[in-house]
């Protein structure tokens, strides 16, 4: 693991309990010409750690999350996850026929909690993403960034300890994305979540992560891991974030160039 700064690792990590563990995970898609998406992935993510996975197109970033979430099955290898992880998609995937409040309450409804109980809880999760006064609206009445925050509140409402995020801010404008980074960072800190965050944006990864995992493309393999030990809260435009991004981008480019030979 390459350490980008001289600081000591965060003490949270030293607690030493793993929330997500992958051992030799391989995924080959079905069919005679089934592509090998992931090849022998070994990855251990500590409880409370914020890990970003970056890589060029075709590196199987999304496949990795699908496997960890259980939405898809690995061809071989072993995956251990603490509890049932919550998944946040690139599209908000909110139910258009439900109000904002009912969307956030849906996972609790599916878990069989009573109406009053789940609505109270949903209001609290909405307050956590600063959307308390929008609870009666429908998703289509909100902006893109607000919908993603409702989706985040719904993800929190699953009360999972592990959060899987698949480029959740990829489609947002820079200003909105910056604010959502701040919001996510503060929620992650306050709730002690473990987050696996997939992105193709190296700078976003450095802005958020304790550790950045670089995947190769076709098939996806772990090329290198970078510890990011910059003080929080960070800013997207911090020079230190820019500097750390430079190293990872260079490695990513080298990886992309390998396919151009």
């Amino acid at each position: 693991m390459t350490q980008l700064t001289e600081r000591a690792p965060r003490p949270v990590l030293a607690a030493g309990r793993e929330a997500v563990t992958l051992r030799g995970v391989t995924k080959r898609y079905a069919g005679p010409r089934g592509a090998l998406a992931l090849d022998g992935i070994d990855l251990a993510i500590q409880r409370g750690e914020f890990v970003c996975v970056v890589g060029a197109s075709g590196c199987g970033k999304s496949t990795l999350l699908n496997l960890v979430s259980g939405l898809d099955e690995a061809t071989s290898g072993e995956i251990c996850v603490e509890g049932r992880p919550a998944f946040m998609f690139q599209e908000h995937a909110l139910m258009p026929w439900l109000s904002v409040l009912d969307n956030v309450a849906l996972p609790m409804r599916l878990a069989g909690r009573t109406r009053a109980d789940r609505q109270d809880a949903a209001r609290e999760f909405l307050a956590a993403v600063h959307l308390a006064e929008w609870s009666d609206r429908r998703p289509h009445e909100l902006s893109g960034g607000m919908r993603q925050r409702v989706a985040l509140a719904r993800t929190l409402a699953m009360e999972a300890s592990v959060l899987l995020m698949d480029e959740p801010f990829g489609a947002l404008d820079a200003m909105t994305r910056d604010l959502l980074h701040d919001e996510l960072e503060s929620i992650w800190g306050a709730r002690g979540l473990t987050i696996v965050f997939v992105t193709h944006n190296v700078r976003e990864a450095v802005r958020l992560a304790d550790r950045v995992v670089l995947l190769s493309s076709r098939p996806g393999r772990v090329v290198e891991e970078f510890g990011v030990d910059l003080p929080r809260p960070r800013r997207f435009e911090d020079p230190a974030v820019t500097a750390a991004s430079g190293d990872i981008t260079a490695a990513l480019r080298a990886e992309v160039a390998r396919h151009g030979v």
């Binding site: 979430s69 995937a93 139910m95 026929w97 009445e141 893109g144 699953m158």
Partner: protein, 284 residues
């Protein structure tokens, strides 16, 4: 937590800037809904009057709009007319209700099972293209001149449309919603109840609307062909009016049939519009 308050204020500012409220007043919506229909009716009446004035057909074959409308107004005051309306509408509603139950159940069943889909999926679409009147000879052989014969043809006409509405609705449920539902903890029946069926609802409603149109057409065809003794109905009156050679009466009954069809269609349109507006897929 000063930095958190700053963040909250920034976020609230952005939310305010990015959302806007616009609304159209009820009055203007009503005006835009009704005015074009009034114009359309006026055009039709005008063309009709024009044809009558040209004298292409004698008056005992083609009455003027004024004659037909005054006959319609007279019918509105007769209990025999309302009796016939009641019989026809009751048949229509009963047939449509039974068709809905069968069509919805069949649609869910076929959409859930790969085997059923390949077995009878194309059969359902095929049935839809069959003109319902072509079923009457068989229906009369099977059930004689009875209510059952009419009901049979209504069902054959309406069930495929309703089932198809469900099937295509389920087919076009966005896969992301299903994936999200699965991650949120829905599976089996809960997935259907909380994700698949609500997502398919607009298509189900348009299937029901089309099913009603087929049921109504089959019903009137049936009433023209299957005359049941001592049972007044709009179809039977229509048939009578031809035998009596009373075109004003005939057109008055036709107006009643048209109005009932339009009225029910309007109900479906209102429901459909409400659903689509609630989901933000309808502008205005």
């Amino acid at each position: 937590m000063a930095s958190d308050t700053v963040l909250a204020t920034e976020i609230r500012g952005l939310d305010t800037l990015e959302t806007h409220v616009d609304g159209v007043s009820l009055g203007s919506r009503l005006w835009h809904g009704i005015a074009p229909k009034v114009v359309a009716v006026a055009i039709v009446l005008g063309l009709w009057e024009g044809v009558v004035l040209l004298g292409l057909k004698p008056e005992y074959v083609l009455p003027s709009p004024a004659q037909a409308l005054s006959e319609f107004a007279r019918q509105l005051g007769l209990s025999t007319f309302w009796h016939a309306v009641a019989v026809t509408v009751t048949r229509g509603v009963a047939g449509f209700t039974i068709a809905s139950v069968i069509g919805l159940a069949l649609g869910i069943l076929v959409s859930r099972s790969r085997f059923l889909r390949s077995a009878i999926g194309s059969l359902i679409t095929g049935l839809q293209t069959m003109p319902s009147i072509a079923w009457f000879p068989l229906a009369i052989l099977l059930f004689q001149l009875s209510e059952m014969a009419i009901l049979f043809v209504i069902l054959i006409g309406a069930v495929p449309s309703i089932a198809n509405g469900v099937i295509s609705g389920v087919d076009y449920v966005p896969p992301t919603l299903v994936r999200a539902g699965r991650n949120l903890g829905a599976s089996g029946l809960a997935m259907y109840r909380h994700v698949v069926l609500p997502a398919a609802l607009p298509s189900v409603v348009s299937g029901l609307k089309q099913g009603w149109a087929f049921a109504w057409r089959s019903l009137l065809a049936g009433e023209l062909i299957v005359a049941i003794a001592n049972r007044p109905s709009l179809g039977a009156y229509l048939s009578n009016s031809r035998e009596l050679g009373d075109p004003a009466y005939m057109i008055a009954i036709m107006i009643a049939i048209l109005l009932i069809g339009v009225l029910v269609d309007t109900v479906f349109t209102v429901v459909d519009t409400a659903i689509r507006r609630g989901r933000g897929v309808l502008v205005g």
